[in-house]
Subunit: 358 residues, 2 copies
Amino acid sequence: MYTYDYLFDFTKSVFLKMGCSEHDSDVIAEVFLAAEMRDQASHGMIRIKDYYELWRAGRINVNPDVRIVHESPSTAVVDGDNAVGMVTARKSMETAIAKAEKAGTGWVAARNSNHFGIAGYYAMMALKHDMIGICLTNANPLVAPTFSISRMMGTNPIAVAIPAGSQPPFIADFATTPIARGKLAVAEKKGEKVALGFVQDKTGIPSDDPTILKRGGSMLTLGGDRLHGSHKGYCLSAIVDIFSAVFSGANFGPFVPPSVAYLPLLEKKVGEGTGHFFGAMRIDAFQPANHFKAKMDEWITTFRTAEPAEGQERVLIPGDPEREAESRIRREGIKLVPAIKDDLVAIARELDIKFDQF
Amino acid sequence: MYTYDYLFDFTKSVFLKMGCSEHDSDVIAEVFLAAEMRDQASHGMIRIKDYYELWRAGRINVNPDVRIVHESPSTAVVDGDNAVGMVTARKSMETAIAKAEKAGTGWVAARNSNHFGIAGYYAMMALKHDMIGICLTNANPLVAPTFSISRMMGTNPIAVAIPAGSQPPFIADFATTPIARGKLAVAEKKGEKVALGFVQDKTGIPSDDPTILKRGGSMLTLGGDRLHGSHKGYCLSAIVDIFSAVFSGANFGPFVPPSVAYLPLLEKKVGEGTGHFFGAMRIDAFQPANHFKAKMDEWITTFRTAEPAEGQERVLIPGDPEREAESRIRREGIKLVPAIKDDLVAIARELDIKFDQF
């Protein structure tokens, strides 16, 4: 088991060694560790290798000039200058919050960025300012629109964080597919099949094979099939893509660049890098903040006391599972599987830093 | 078959007779007819009776003072004064557009409103201003959160309209449940079962019985069950509810008042009336408008040329089915089923206006 501090310091030193600034390395480590603490390990330490190899391939900029290139009172476009995604994203969300301070709301589209970790981290930045935070991003194409077999969209997540009063905040953070990409990899490693409704084969027939993406298959949108509303998942994913890429001038849909170095850059570009979208909304731009937060407490307690179905213990509020995971992981420590530890040992050796195997 | 103009004039005269102003009656008729033309008949002429009976029961205000009660540069809260929903909604979206003209974006939460027809109508109002339009609303509770059997939420729709250049606009307008409430009623009338994944019985067991809501059942959120992502549909529906009701001061979740007079008003109130939420985003607050629209054309043509699955002819862009329906209905006319015509004849008689049975 590792402590938060140990892995934070290690992650920070990896990015410092790669040439990132003190500030940027702090931000990057914080987002990686937020993923581990919230039990979203698929976006945590396992991904350090991807960033390291992008850097080794010269495909990421560790000394970026992340800057605002266009703005209005409530909006801005940020160019990430091919930075590590967390650096672009943090600056963009800070900009959205600053816009909201003055205009009531702030909306920032970012281009020329890279994979930024968990979307929820940026949405949650708004909470301490008594604002609602929103974060969207597009991602590598793996998902087919309804009626199609072409991989046109990423798992394009939506994160929304809403402050409450005495209750913990409402935090939704979800891919616009039935499951995250990482769950297919887990099933594959265990040699298991998956339920129908997640993936299809190269002709469009529903499949239970988690390895089908390697043979021309694709992921399905939330809803699974047309009868069960997959066209609504397609709409959501498309909206995330358009807000992230068309507002910002990033690559959209099938042109989003890979977030791993073992896949080549695509031949065709329709914009710059990966795109994100951020929103910050001052709750007192609508209601006195104390009133809003008291009403959110009432909303949360109302939904928490909904009657559970037979066999269920309780009804959850978005954010409950991750908060409970964080409390457990803070107590017990962070567990890394051997394969990840091996990767981190190898990176540590190459960068001449220390990584212990606990 | 009826023409657009015939039903527009009839609808307008119904609301004039009820005491609505010339302006409000025009707006209301326009929204009703937009539903008919877009083949969303469940929100069209069939609902005139509901409004008429709410009015007869003294539960709707035909002379409302719809007004802004709070604002910031990019936001406002509108009190609908218990108006017909279309009147509150149209004024709220006009306010969002006016805010966006100055601040880049405009966001309006509305309370003390009623059922407003189709959400897509208000989102589409933004298009001619070269803005993206967004519209959300909460609704009568019929839907259970994941793991629950309590009806806590409406079918809470999301509408987003995005302008393009030479291509038609991208228009998404969908309930956050796998199917709309109206589809259950259609199956019931035909004596048919429905697919699993839409409704559950009063203990939480999935059901194929479209009449199950009459015996303690509830609708499921988009995703259908936890394995297939129903918690994501729950998040979406909850976000729509919070934006519509907590931002505005309307009733949230299980407290949203019924939109029909045959159901009594609820005993408990947590706010005023039904709530909506509107957004308008100037595309040139992010990119030069011509550039944005050219990129949307490229997005649309890219997705339109995605490869269809076996047995499918083509891949659709959100908005295609409704636009094609509109073109057909404009050519062929609007068909009303006998039961609806009978209702309208009865209303016409009571209000001393004319309605012909074509």
